[in-house]
């Protein structure tokens, strides 16, 4: 017969977080009456050093072989307590947690009812603990390679840091060139650096390293496996122009097809065969297959025969230990008619203005609107941020206030006689950027605070902005030659596609959610996947660079190891019970189950490396042969049976 089950139960006060609402002493007293419970205690902080020591001492003293801690969510401290068991010589999976903080004390006010609920939760945890079995962690060999998805400034920084540390890096960028939005910023505030120069300096070093492989115009189409051994499939879309391209521009001249230029945020046009911008990486022309008519003019004129309209897409497979997701953002796109957008050429976005103000941009830095120099320029902040419209996010986009002011100062330099208005909800020039605000005030930029969104009236060439000025409590009308919408950051329009491949979860603002905002700010909820840059929410260039380095540092903690240990909560077959019906095979989303010949019959067989531990096969098994470790039928039934005592 198996050994006697001896359970220790520990009720945490979490200071007053739990003890303030739940009568912890009563819960502990109650726990001590439950079957197999040898000792039940309550303590102010179970996760603290003395709290952990208490468990270890009790394990020795009372010969405990199951531990239940009633405290916070297992997402916070399950690992902490498992390690306590390990250090005390017990199998770490003989541990169960009852969540009496997030699910109980923080959610309720009534002390009586919260205490009763805590008792129920403890009883359920003890019931499961009775059925727990020791499990062995799965040892996975770490592939010393990383996959970085997204070649903007955050992804580039992460890739460079990892490559410098000696790991092989595969960098996959969806667009034909690296650099993302950063490469289109004319001047990064107080660094005095152009965005494209910053990108070039990183890319220059990156391409010089032998352990880096860059895929542009490519996307990751599948990602299988887990930390230590992800298998990724990359689709490399054809460029139709190869590296022989000398940038002679002859093809661009003869190409008959035009479209608006997304690299200038729609200011000006580009051809179907085009170079995204001067000095981009890779500096090779590309054909846009969406609009190309395959007329063949470019093929005929190319002097070095670099154009091949029949180039096919190809696929590459890589195995990596970690994945860094750095897919960035897209600017908020106002609807047609929203604040006059797309009703007049005189209403533009902040991103478009930045391109216009760029000396290397489409207007060579000249601010000309409809052939004339604007005299009255009105900026409207918080477009698409701060809940200013039903479609807008509730968040602050962090970079718009500062970008509006640095643009206003630039306009003040080139057009000293202009009238510049900034209509703002709040001013959030945090940190060093506060200087931009003071300089703007000193140089006569007029600030008007609004609470209700201003209205932009477009009638032919005449535009006026009507705003209720909070300080005077009345509406004013400002005639404008140019209206700049300070659009914020929204999630990347490709994010949905990415999320169907990389399994990470999103917050309600649509950005990817980190595992914990303070404790694990660059970790995704899934082991081995890290997040860099604006994929988790609005960030400035500088913040994105910091974030990229942080993600690389976190990824190194896996890559520097030879092995990682995966949670053994995977499916397992009881071959004696398995009838070989193989219903489970069709259930598995990872193709982890196969048929195994066992003497004269066939049984299901689980590949422990491929199994991710969802348990859907276990739910489908008619004979109960397939069981998910740690979530076995008998363990869950034990919880259900005692749930209402």
């Amino acid at each position: 017969m198996s050994e006697e089950i001896r359970i220790g139960v520990y009720i945490c006060h979490c200071g007053t977080n739990i003890a303030g609402t739940v009568d912890v002493e009563e819960v502990a007293k109650y726990a001590s009456t439950l079957p197999n419970v040898v000792v039940a205690r309550n303590y102010v902080f179970m996760c603290s050093e003395p709290g952990q020591q208490m468990i270890k001492d009790d394990i020795k003293k009372y010969n405990l072989n199951r531990i239940v801690v009633a405290a916070c969510s297992p997402s916070l401290h399950e690992l902490t307590f498992r390690n306590v068991l390990k250090e005390a010589g017990l199998n770490p999976y003989l541990f169960e947690m009852a969540n009496i903080r997030e699910h109980c004390s923080w959610a309720h006010i009534d002390r009586r009812k919260a205490t009763e609920k805590a008792k129920d939760l403890v009883r359920m945890a003890v019931a499961k603990a009775r059925e727990l079995e020791p499990l062995e962690e799965i040892k996975v060999e770490v592939s010393k390679k990383a996959l970085v998805i997204g070649g903007g400034v955050a992804g580039l920084r992460a890739a460079l840091d990892l490559a410098r540390a000696g790991f092989t890096v595969y960098l996959v960028e969806k667009r034909p060139v690296l650099g993302g939005h950063t490469a289109r910023i004319p001047l990064i505030r107080y660094l005095g650096v152009r965005g494209d120069d910053l990108i070039r300096s990183i890319v220059k070093e990156l391409v010089s390293l032998p352990n880096v492989k860059i895929f542009t115009n490519s996307e990751v189409i599948s990602l299988e496996g887990g930390v230590g051994g992800f298998k990724a499939k990359i689709r490399v879309r054809p460029r139709y122009v190869d590296a022989r391209c000398t940038l002679c521009r002859e093809c661009e001249k003869v190409c008959p097809v035009k479209t608006s230029n997304e690299y200038e945020y729609g200011i000006g046009e580009r051809k179907a065969i085009y170079l995204p911008y001067e000095g981009c990486y890779p500096s090779i022309y590309i054909i846009d297959p969406e609009i190309c008519t395959r007329c063949g003019e470019c093929v005929k004129i190319c002097p070095v025969k670099a154009v091949d309209l029949d180039e096919k897409e190809r696929f590459e497979e890589v195995v990596v230990g970690t994945v860094i997701l750095a897919t960035g953002f897209d600017p908020y796109e106002p609807e047609k008619g929203e604040l006059g957008y797309k009703l007049s050429d005189r209403v533009i976005t902040l991103f478009q203005l930045q391109r216009i103000l760029d000396e290397k941009g489409p207007t060579k830095g000249k601010l000309v609107v409809n052939g004339g120099v604007p005299r009255s320029i009105v900026f409207i902040s918080c477009v698409g941020s701060m809940g200013t419209s039903p479609r807008a996010g509730r968040y602050c986009s962090r970079m718009c206030c500062s970008t509006i002011m640095s643009s206003a100062l630039r306009i003040r330099d080139i057009l000293p006689d202009s009238y510049i208005y900034i209509l703002h909800k709040d001013i959030r020039t945090y940190g060093y950027d506060e200087d931009l605000y003071w300089r703007s005030l000193e140089r006569g930029v007029r600030f008007v605070r609004y609470e209700e969104m201003p209205e932009v009236k477009v009638s032919g060439e005449k535009i006026s902005v009507i705003v209720r000025d909070v300080t005077i409590g009345d509406y004013i009308e400002i005639p404008a030659d140019l209206v700049v919408l300070g659009v914020g950051m929204a999630q990347s329009k490709y994010l949905r596609e990415v999320l169907s491949v990389v399994r990470v979860s999103c917050g309600d603002e649509g950005f990817v959610k980190e595992a914990h905002p303070k404790l694990r700010p660059v970790d995704a909820a899934s082991e081995g996947i890290y997040l860099a840059g604006a994929v988790t929410g609005p960030k400035s260039v500088i913040e994105s660079v910091i974030h990229g380095s942080a993600a690389a540092a976190r990824a190194s903690t896996v890559l520097s190891k030879d092995y990682v240990f995966a949670e053994p909560i995977i499916a397992k077959v009881d071959e004696d019970l398995c009838s070989g019906c193989l219903i489970c095979i069709g259930m598995c989303p990872y193709n982890a189950i196969s048929v195994k010949q066992l003497n004269d019959r066939r049984v299901a067989n689980v590949n422990p490396v491929l199994c991710m531990g969802c348990g859907t096969c276990a739910a489908a098994c008619p004979s109960g042969a397939m069981q998910q470790q740690g979530f076995k039928d008998k363990q869950i039934f034990a919880q259900i049976k005692v749930f209402s005592r």
Binding site: S73, P74, S75, N99, R101, E102, H103, C104, W106, A107, H108, I109, D110, K113, A114, E116, K117, D120, L121, M124, L499, S500, R503, S505, C506, G507, D508, E509, K513, A525, S526, I569, M587, P589, Y590, M612, G613, C614, G615, T616, A618, A619, A620, Q628, F631, D633, I636, F637, Q639, I640, K641, V642, F643, S644, R645
Partner: protein
């Protein structure tokens, strides 16, 4: 005087979305009814319909199964399997004489703490009106045996 009926509700929640949503509700100090007890599984796809029957047989007045939003499943498509299984189960529960209000399948994203509170509040309100589960499984077994005898 009789105390107000307090329904007992079991919720089986997936680790990645709905369990995290309940965590978030707590962290945000949103107040929710105390009637709900949660069992955590990794994926709603782990939920065997038998769990729900067992819950009703063991004193549950209501059961909620909650997973990630469709398309957002951490395990690619586990919640679609849940959807299929639970759709069939709903029919079975009806046959057994268990009112449809007593069982809910909900998709709650990890950020949607508000939805959890709404679902929980609504369910408790409805079950208070409905009263305790009338049919007990021991009675049900008796009925089945009686039917057999008649045959």
């Amino acid at each position: 005087m009789d105390e107000e009926f307090e329904p007992k509700i079991l919720m089986i929640a997936c680790n990645w979305c709905s369990y995290a949503a309940v965590d978030l509700a707590g962290t945000s100090r949103m107040k929710s009814p105390h009637n709900i007890r949660i069992i955590r599984v990794m994926c709603s796809g782990r939920v065997d319909p038998q769990f729900i029957l067992e819950a009703f047989a063991n004193g549950a007045d209501g059961v909620i199964v909650a997973g990630c939003r469709l398309g957002d499943c951490h395990y690619i498509e586990g919640n679609y399997k849940t959807l299929r299984r639970m759709t069939l189960l709903k029919k079975l529960l009806e046959q057994l004489g268990i009112e449809p209000e007593r069982f809910r399948l909900e998709w709650i994203s990890s950020a949607d703490a508000k939805k959890y509170v709404e679902v929980a509040t609504d369910m408790v309100e409805k079950l208070k009106k409905l009263g305790p589960l009338k049919i007990r499984f021991d009675e049900l077994k008796k009925v089945i045996e009686e039917v057999r005898e008649i045959e």
